[in-house]
């Protein structure tokens, strides 16, 4: 199936980066998690066609890619907002008002967390589990960028401006 496709799903640049990753490990398959991050970094999610292409590069079956994509919370098989706002809702963050942060973002953006995108496709909100930033709760991560720490529900306009 993938051999019939003429146009590749992700860029030559991403392909080269994946190929450069493979020699670090005794088995090419070990590069899969990094490869998925690279693909998602370019496409925003990892569609089935990209999974097939990755399977070919790494010499594994497409289902072996898909079971990884669907097991790990950071990968998205379907599109999310261009700015996917991930709010930690674990214990240190909820003690510091993470629920109010999620609700405030939902109100401002008009979408609920977990799967919805704004009509322009720009934003989505995701509740995530502990980001390892408990001392600077509430912690927010947009896409795969460095953390935004110490977020407060009464300063969400600042947050949205900063991530725009």
């Amino acid at each position: 199936m993938s051999s019939e496709r003429t146009s590749p799903v992700f860029s030559q640049q991403v392909r080269d980066a994946i190929l450069a990753e493979i020699p670090k490990y005794p088995e090419p398959r070990s590069a899969l998690l990094v490869a998925l991050h690279l693909v998602q970094g370019e496409l925003g999610h990892v569609p089935l066609e990209a999974q097939e292409e990755l399977a070919t590069i790494l010499g594994i079956r497409p289902i072996e890619v898909r079971e990884v994509v669907t097991f790990y919370p950071m990968y998205h098989e379907h599109p999310v907002g261009k700015r996917n706002i991930q709010v930690c809702v674990n214990i240190a963050c909820t003690l510091n008002g993470a629920r109010d942060v999620v609700r405030g973002l939902e109100r401002r953006l008009g979408v609920s967390s977990g799967g919805e995108r704004t009509p322009d496709g720009n934003y989505s909100i995701e509740e995530v589990q502990c980001l390892g930033s408990c001392g600077t709760a509430v912690c927010v991560q947009v896409n795969n960028e460095p953390y935004i720490e110490g977020v407060r529900a009464d300063r969400l306009d600042d947050l949205l401006r900063a991530i725009d």
């Binding site: 998690l33 991050h37 790990y72 589990q129």
Partner: protein
């Protein structure tokens, strides 16, 4: 006696640069270990220091190293360094990765010498993009200075450090879940035996150690096992990184001796409880460990002392809750986490974590009966000691911990058919 740091640079500074790290005495221990110490002597020294793993289980590091088969076999040998820091309440390894990355690299070099490893693979959780970048830059510097790579540090051995990225699954902090993940698979833990020392990364002999554990090793080599043992308690030696979060004035990571009283950590180092409120509950070592009540705040933070009060040291991640916090809600947040993170391969864990969350939700909403509380206890009984890994045990310990320690508050939810704490945080 004021404690002396050897893991973290002074407050507000970092030693990311090779020169800065060297000026602080960096790589002297590795040089000494590689030139003057045999692998056997190194393992003995670390065993004698009493160093216990800082990833949660507290296993003796030197003993773990000695489980590796004798060198000279047909397969390469590896270190798998666990940097999947995901236990809620735990944010200490990030301090090492971001502020003192060469300390970890030096520890890996020494560990690599001790167990005759060809390479170390550092598995960093996918969200830690900043830590990944900083450690990556430090590894590149170390390669440039021939501290890593072919015939590293003037020896006839090759040793390198490679970074790997996770993708958000807590279970990959479990040592065999991490190994599966590093091989490009779902992070479902393996049955043991065989243990990683025999059959680890790519089926090769592998030692799995946490970032902080390995970061203690240079100081042990430099100062000796006797010095290390003089810090802490007889069975919990050395400093450790306590992470303090929740309702405290100065949350953060504090490097202090094992055995430091919990009261001192909360009230002196972390500045006490804000707004004049009263302390109510403390999770002492990441949310997998049973919660303590305020009356237990005088416990010392070491393995034996915490066991005596019915909890465990875990990762040393301390979560503090004040009097406004609803204990059912806290249990809900933690149960939701385990329900989300179960890998699904064992029935008791997959089903049990979902049941716990549902039952707690209904109790919190005022829809529970006293029978629910018994059911929570029963479900936990089915989850403990029944599964391939300890995630199921952790979920059960957390839920029963809250229920047993704060039972009157759970009963009040049932009796009053609502949460009796109007000011509580929302789950």
């Amino acid at each position: 006696m004021p404690s002396e740091r050897y893991l973290l640079p002074p407050e507000g500074t970092h030693w990311r640069d090779l020169d800065a790290y060297r000026q602080a005495g960096g790589y002297e221990a590795a040089t000494r270990a590689l030139r003057e110490m045999t692998p056997e002597a190194l393992i003995e020294e670390v065993k004698a220091s009493g160093l216990r793993g800082r990833g949660g289980a507290g296993f003796t590091a030197g003993q773990k190293w000695s489980f590796m088969p004798k060198p000279g076999g047909p397969k390469p040998r590896y270190i798998a360094c666990n940097s999947d820091e995901s236990e809620p309440g735990t944010f200490k390894d990030r301090q090492i990765l971001e502020r003192n990355p060469h300390l970890l690299i030096e520890g890996l070099i020494i560990t690599g010498h001790a167990i005759a490893a060809r390479a170390a693979y550092v598995y960093i959780r996918g969200e830690y993009v900043t830590a990944h970048r900083i450690l990556g830059e430090a590894v590149a510097q170390a390669r440039g200075a021939e501290l890593l790579g072919p015939k590293h540090m003037g020896t006839d051995r090759d040793f390198d450090v490679h970074l790997m990225r996770g993708a958000g699954a807590y279970i990959c902090g479990e040592e065999t879940g991490m190994i599966e993940s590093a091989e490009g698979k779902k992070g479902q833990p393996r049955k043991r035996p065989p243990f990683p020392a025999v059959y680890g990364l790519w089926g090769c002999p592998t030692t799995v150690n946490n970032v902080e554990t390995i970061s203690h090793v240079p100081a042990i080599v430099r100062r000796g096992a006797e010095w290390f043992k003089s810090i802490g308690t007889p069975s919990s030696t050395g400093n450790t990184l306590y992470g303090v979060s929740g309702h405290v004035n100065r949350p953060g990571v504090y490097e202090l001796p094992l055995g430091t009283p919990l009261r001192e950590i909360i009230y002196e180092h972390a500045g006490g409880i804000p707004n004049g409120r009263r302390l109510k509950a403390i999770v002492p070592g990441g949310v997998s460990m049973p919660v303590l009540s305020a009356e237990q705040v005088d416990v010392r933070m070491d393995h034996d002392s915490l066991r005596q009060v019915g909890s465990l040291l875990g990762t040393g991640g301390i979560v503090v809750m004040d009097e406004t916090a609803c204990m059912v809600r806290a249990a809900i947040v933690i149960a939701r986490f385990f329900r989300h993170e179960t890998c699904g391969q064992c029935t008791q864990c997959r089903e049990g974590t979902a049941w716990l969350y549902k039952l707690l939700r209904r109790v919190e909403a005022g829809e529970g009966t006293m029978e629910y509380l018994q059911t929570i206890d029963d479900v936990c009984g089915y989850m403990e000691g029944q599964t391939i890994c300890a995630l199921s045990d952790a979920a059960a310990w957390a839920a029963t911990g809250f229920l047993r320690r704060f039972r009157p508050e759970f009963e009040a939810h049932v009796r009053e058919r609502r949460c009796p704490l109007p000011e509580s945080f929302l789950p």
